[in-house]
Amino acid sequence: MKLARVVGTVVSTIKAPDFDGRTLLLCDLLDPSGAPSGGYTIAVDSVGAGAGETVLLLDEGTSARQVLSAPGAPIRTVVVGIVDAVTGEEAG
């Protein structure tokens, strides 16, 4: 799983049916210290994450579909948690 920060949403009318009713969050990937590591991804929300929050991203399709109870959906990345704190040698 990866750490990321929610920085925006993606609004889409024309989309695969599996995305109906789901929120797409634009997330900057973070390193363990909380600094942006350069990349980003669009993830499906499953926890009600909001702007600026540090979140936990699940980036594996089979698990993602299980979390969302959406078998057969073309979804690989899901926000599965809101991070309160990261501690450790590398974490700031």
Partner: protein
Amino acid sequence: MQLARVIGTVVATVKTPGLEGVKLLVIQPLDRHLAPVGGQVVAADAIHMAGPGELVYFVAAREAAEAMPNRFVPVDHAIVGIVDAVTPLAGGEASAAAEPPPAAAQPASRSGPPRKARQATRP
């Protein structure tokens, strides 16, 4: 998933049987400020509505095939939605400057026969 701009189409007469009827588009992946990043790739159009010039999002890897009607096709990138707007959230760090307005706000610059035909299908 990532953002991308559709920049072309691919026509292939001879292809593996699973790819028959699959619409192939050339896309340029973008960073979240909509600047090109990385190489162009050929993606299947899972929504059958994307066209050149459009801002889309795509899914890669095994999940791409899940977006197709036949889930056991040899597809590794699939367009799964057309972007209306990328909205920075207050409190986030998204740069609003590079984000496009909703498609509906700019009909003059994006109107064309294919676009109009497709908009008619919107709910």
